[in-house]
């Protein structure tokens, strides 16, 4: 199971308590994680990446294992520890605005 941690506003939007566990069919990439997340929680569609281009929204960040994956290719494999469910995939709102 892939573990995903969402920022509080998105947890409230999707009515999620705590961490999310997702079944993601290999290969485990950022794209397949986000696809699985949006399939489970349709309210999140369009909130982390653009509806049409699927590009990351400008003030969203994706972290895992102490690494910033935000600008990695969406189809690149995520760190093994995320794929094994040992470490969470973190969706984070960037420091911005007021």
């Amino acid at each position: 199971m892939i573990r995903v941690v969402l920022p509080a506003p998105l947890r409230r939007l999707a009515k999620i308590d705590g961490e999310v566990s997702l079944d993601v069919v290999a290969p485990v990439t950022q794209r397949t994680i986000l696809d699985a997340l949006e399939l489970r929680y349709p309210a999140l569609v369009g909130t982390t990446r653009d509806h049409v281009t699927a590009k990351r929204r400008p003030f969203m960040r994706f972290f895992a294992c102490g690494l910033d994956l935000s600008d990695d290719p969406p189809d690149a494999a995520v760190p093994e520890a995320v794929a094994r469910g040992e470490e969470p995939y973190l969706i984070v709102g960037a420091i911005a605005g007021g």
């Binding site: 920022p7 999707a14 929204r57 605005g97």
Partner: protein, 371 residues
């Protein structure tokens, strides 16, 4: 028992204010959607328990929420607003072509008779329609496809479609307003549109009487007289008595004719309200005195309404969607400020009191009259 429900959108969430018909004692609920900008909330005239809300965020983009129980619980519905076809370009601030880009929903206008049908006015300016309670949205492309579309230019606040007026006597007719393009009307349920700006005069345009390009801040209509429209423009208060074909200025004795909202008394189609603002750079009341102005003659002759409103050191703004009236007798008038106050008058504007004083900056105010 009859009462009112005031829907308040703010910079950091939504609030619902309720009172009985006396409108003296208020209950405040919220914030709903804490932390999100609530550009607009509006209830369905056909089912007051159905409320639509536009919430937006610099981080997470646009979300539309729907309540089916009068605002107690909410559900996220569709949030994809895709322009029809190849979007093309409009003018940017420097006059260069700029691609149309969806930014946010400024205004939601539920159908007068079907709770599942709702229109959305968006930035960059376009109108969308949903017929399934907000789950899916489809553009009415004839508006943006109007021949002048490539010439539209944003105002300082963005190129938003902020007003949608549905004609209660003609289901095929609708007026919309865009900053800074002007007023447009459809007579075929949104297939085709015509600009309705004759008589407007805007000194910031090379041709002040141009067909499009006017910064219309708000238009309003009384349902019993849908051919009479009132407008608060960037400067000038205007009226039309022929469905928008021609406009005449009715600023009269206002201390300044700049402002944002304009609204019409629920029971008297010739009684209208504006809140004069000092200028287009000084967005606060003249002399630091918060005054609503009322005309009982459809314009030109205005009286200041001050009882209960701060008359010194007041430097808030009242945004275009932040004024509304209820349908009680006497008519109630409401407005919200960028300082977080929501004022109510239960007597048509004669006297005012704050319902709440310290909300985040108020972006929109709508009222539901509950029977």
């Amino acid at each position: 028992m009859s009462g009112v429900r005031v829907l308040v959108g703010t910079k950091k969430g939504a609030f619902i204010l309720t009172a009985d018909g006396k409108r003296k004692s208020w209950q405040v609920e919220g914030p709903h959607f804490a932390g999100w900008e609530l550009y607009h909330l509006k209830g369905s005239p056909a089912d007051p328990n159905r409320i639509y809300a536009s919430q937006t965020s610099g981080w997470f983009g646009q979300v539309i929420e729907r309540s089916d129980d009068g605002g107690k619980t909410w559900e996220a519905v569709g949030n994809q607003f895709a322009y029809e076809g190849v979007p093309g370009t409009h003018q940017w601030y420097d006059g260069s072509p700029h691609p149309w880009e969806f930014k946010r929903v400024w205004h939601l206008e539920p159908s007068l008779d079907d709770p599942d049908t709702v229109y959305a006015g968006i930035e960059d300016a376009a109108i969308f329609k949903s017929t399934d309670g907000g789950k899916t949205w489809k553009e009415l492309p004839g508006l943006r496809g109007h021949g002048s579309g490539s010439q539209w230019m944003p105002g300082a606040g963005g190129m938003g479609l902020h007003t949608i007026l549905l004609d209660p006597k003609n289901k095929d007719r609708m007026h919309i307003a865009i900053s800074a393009a002007g007023v447009f009307r459809t007579d075929d349920a949104g297939k085709t549109w015509r600009p309705m700006n004759r008589g407007l005069n805007s000194q910031f345009l090379p041709n002040p009487a141009a067909e499009v390009g006017h910064c219309v801040h708000r238009i309003a209509m009384h349902p019993s007289k849908p051919n009479t429209l009132f407008m608060q423009k960037h400067w000038d208060v205007m009226r039309s008595d022929d469905g928008g074909e021609n406009w005449t200025e009715v600023s009269g004795n206002l201390p300044t004719d700049f402002g944002f909202p304009i609204d019409v008394h629920a029971h008297d189609p010739e009684t209208i309200y504006v809140v004069p603002i000092k200028s287009d750079s000084e967005h606060y009341p003249p002399e630091g005195k918060l005054r609503v102005y009322r005309s009982k003659s459809g314009g030109n002759e205005w009286e200041a309404l001050t009882k209960g409103l701060p008359q010194e050191n007041c430097y808030v703004n009242i945004l275009r969607d932040a004024m509304a009236v209820d349908a009680m007798d006497p008519c109630g008038v409401y407005f919200g400020t960028t300082g977080g106050q929501v004022y109510a008058s239960p007597d048509g504007g004669d006297s005012w009191a704050p319902i709440v004083r310290d909300l985040p900056a108020v972006l929109s105010v709508e009222v539901q009259t509950l029977r």
